[in-house]
Symmetry: C2
Subunit: 232 residues, 2 copies
DNA sequence: CGCTATGTTGATCCATATCAATAAGTGTGG
DNA sequence: CCACACTTATTGATATGGATCAACATAGCG
């Protein structure tokens, strides 16, 4: 692995407090690879051989059943994915593909488990990380079960707005087709949902979004920290 | 806390490997309470003051938004709930209520966090537990996003059948009203879904279920370990 | 035994999916 | 740099799963 990748990885919450010796031993077995877009990195059901870290680019976590497919989450730099499978030494529950050219670090799962056994700070950091992941999924599930697709879109836009700095104008970080899948709807329905938010002052042209009346949209969306705040 | 509760709690995966001294210190601050049915034990949004353990009875974890409510999960003895909130010292994401007379142990969250910092085996056990919880929610989300309500019901019945021993006849562990909410549908729709499974040999009278043609139902339900196997 | 909550059934409505056609991007090679 | 091909996005028409509303039946429970 190129030295330039070390610092980025070292700064991740799950690595930053661990002993240097242990970090080095993880990095020795790790390697970094550049992938083009649309490459399937892992397939659900396979044994979890590597902990993955997105260094640049974007990765889509998705699942399939009975010829249907749905996007579960999008992973952006710098963060790990499929930590739970690695720790439990269990099969992946989701597949992963690159959405664009991406740089991915791969750490052998058995190394992660070995260091997990040896380094208490690392074990603790993983607890925090997993608790965070767990709570994120719970929030996503509340979003799905308690809201209509229009409400999910409205709240997604508000979250995205906040993530991108809070200005009235911002860009969608996802292809609409994939956003639809993340939100649990069809692309056609997303198109219509976008129109459905026009009365609340939402303007979308291509990938660009403008929220013309923040209050109006928020009155409709009713964002709630226990669903929409992805920092706690 | 009565001594008789100790062994049950001690045997839980997250407690069984920890140092006795630490376990004792958790138990010293803990107390056990008997609650009648339909008592709200915790409310989402509140700070997580206690780690809860169901010793007997049944607890429903549910969430609300905008005057809607949905059941997220059902907790049965002997297991803990809201572990993630306790560890992160973050507000509860779900509310909890007893569904029947229940016996609940309460361990102050700050004690759990203190012991978590002091006992490495405990910290490791919590990792495993959280990874398990995380994977369960991911499975639930796949179930929700990839399946119709009829398919969810069919697979739920197969899971419940397995959990209760695998015989063709078994009992629903939940009120239908609540089952409907867990499955993400209305009670009316559940009634009709049950009828919709009659062609596949499913007979339901009251709380009693008989699967007359296992293969036929499985052909329809297409159960999948990456969604329906809640042991890995 | 009657009250109240739960479950069922029917009628209807609505949200969302599906199917089909067109438009608009986007990338590629000449 | 443009033309072509291919994917993605939009729009319309229609179908359908599931929700809602209302009436009734049933089952627990005090």
């Amino acid at each position: 692995m190129p030295d330039s990748d070390y610092p980025d990885i070292r700064e991740l919450d799950i690595f930053k407090d661990m002993q240097n010796e242990h970090f080095q031993s993880l990095m020795r077995g790790a390697y970094v690879q550049n992938f083009p877009a649309q490459i399937e990195l892992i397939t659900e059901g396979e044994p979890s051989d590597f902990l993955h870290i997105v260094l640049s680019g974007t990765v889509d976590l998705f699942s399939t059943w009975n010829n249907r497919e749905t996007s579960m989450a999008t992973v952006r730099p710098i963060s790990t994915f499929i930590l739970a499978a690695t720790i439990k030494d269990a099969p992946y529950l989701m597949s992963a593909r690159t959405l664009e050219k991406s740089r991915i670090a791969l750490i052998p799962s058995q190394d992660v488990r070995a260091v997990f056994d040896a380094d208490n700070d690392f074990a603790r950091a993983i607890v925090t990380e997993l608790a965070q992941c767990y709570r994120s999924v719970i929030k996503a599930q509340k979003d799905l079960k308690l809201r209509s697709s229009l409400e999910r879109l409205a709240n997604y836009l508000l979250r995205q707005q906040k993530r991108s700095g809070g200005a009235p104008s911002f860009d969608l970080a996802l292809e609409k087709r994939r956003l639809a899948s993340v939100l649990g709807m069809t692309p056609e329905n997303l198109s219509r949902a976008i129109k459905g938010l026009q009365p609340y002052g939402v303007m979308v042209t291509g990938t660009h979004v403008t929220i013309e009346d923040q209050d109006d949209l928020e009155r409709f969306a009713k964002p709630n920290p226990l669903i929409d705040d992805h920092t706690t």
